[in-house]
Symmetry: C2
Subunit: 186 residues, 2 copies
């Protein structure tokens, strides 16, 4: 009941995005989730896992559920965002990820939903993330400079990371261009 939602990945919060435009039931969400051109590209799970996550989100007060009986079909458990759930979603969608290793899963998921919220949400997310990435890059370059001569493995690792972060920044730029192609930028 009181187990905290994972701060690190906050992958649960992504599910809130599926409920942002109205109540849905688990099976329905799973249909959309498993679209091979959609979120499935970066986030795969079993159906049972989805049901477990929804139950967990309800435990944490971010969702409410109600059973909706049907004729000749199993009843549907409809989930809807609570006020807390909506607030959590809005905070989640604009928060940049804190570590490079979260980028692939977390940031791409955020972007998936931000695109639905409109260009402004995308802009905000990408802008925030770019700032975070620039900071990582500065820290990394400083680390490379201050690393002892002897610590060659350390330098190797830092160079690897900074290369990855640079690629992230390039990608963020290209994403933004795709969303605001008319506007002339910097």
């Amino acid at each position: 009941m009181d187990s905290p939602l994972s701060e690190e990945l906050s992958s649960e919060h992504a599910l809130l995005g599926f409920l942002a435009y109205g109540p849905r039931h688990g099976y329905d969400i799973y249909q959309e989730l498993s679209d091979p051109d959609g979120l499935w590209m970066v986030w795969r799970m079993k159906q049972s896992r989805l049901y477990a996550m929804l139950a967990r989100l309800e435990d944490h007060g971010l969702l409410t559920s109600s059973m909706e009986p049907q004729e000749g079909r199993p009843p549907r458990k409809m989930y809807a965002l609570t006020a807390a759930g909506r607030a959590a979603y809005r905070a989640w969608i604009k928060t940049p990820v804190e570590h490079g290793r979260q980028f692939r899963l977390c940031l791409l998921t955020r972007l998936f939903f931000a695109r639905r919220e409109g260009p402004q949400a995308v802009e905000e997310l990408i802008g925030g993330q770019r700032a975070a990435c620039r900071e990582w890059l500065c820290d990394l370059e400083e680390s490379i400079d201050t690393a002892a001569e002897g610590a060659s493995f350390k330098r190797l690792v830092f160079r690897y990371r900074s290369g990855q972060v640079e690629a992230m920044l390039d990608w963020l730029d290209s994403c933004e261009d795709e969303f605001a192609p008319a506007e002339v930028r910097r």
Copy 2:
């Protein structure tokens, strides 16, 4: 007893590298592992986890152990590679990782130990990994081309991945240069 070692990460195999030059005990290995300029850069764990992994490797027949009593100190449990362990290590150190997400942890760990084995091992590892990365990149570029016009999220994801893989390739090149600076390359 018969739980398989994780094929995916094979992080256990990395521990074999610590035993490649003679028997060691867990505490001793942990000292080296927790050097902040060494493997600790990419692979952190609690001491208890290390002991558990060593025990697992022994269960799988890759290590043998013997107790070595000391005066005034707790006895040491010395681990040594078995023939199977040595073979597994030799295979592990030259095998490229299969997915980009394994690169950060698995490949950097392999490189850490390959450097100790000498320039030839490094060359072999990097060469193999570069071939794998090039293949990923080809597949990704083909995926981008064949993706439907409408699947813009899909394209976004593929472009992200190809950017990351390109950065990996650049990094592999720079690593190789560092190891064979004299030789003129292609």
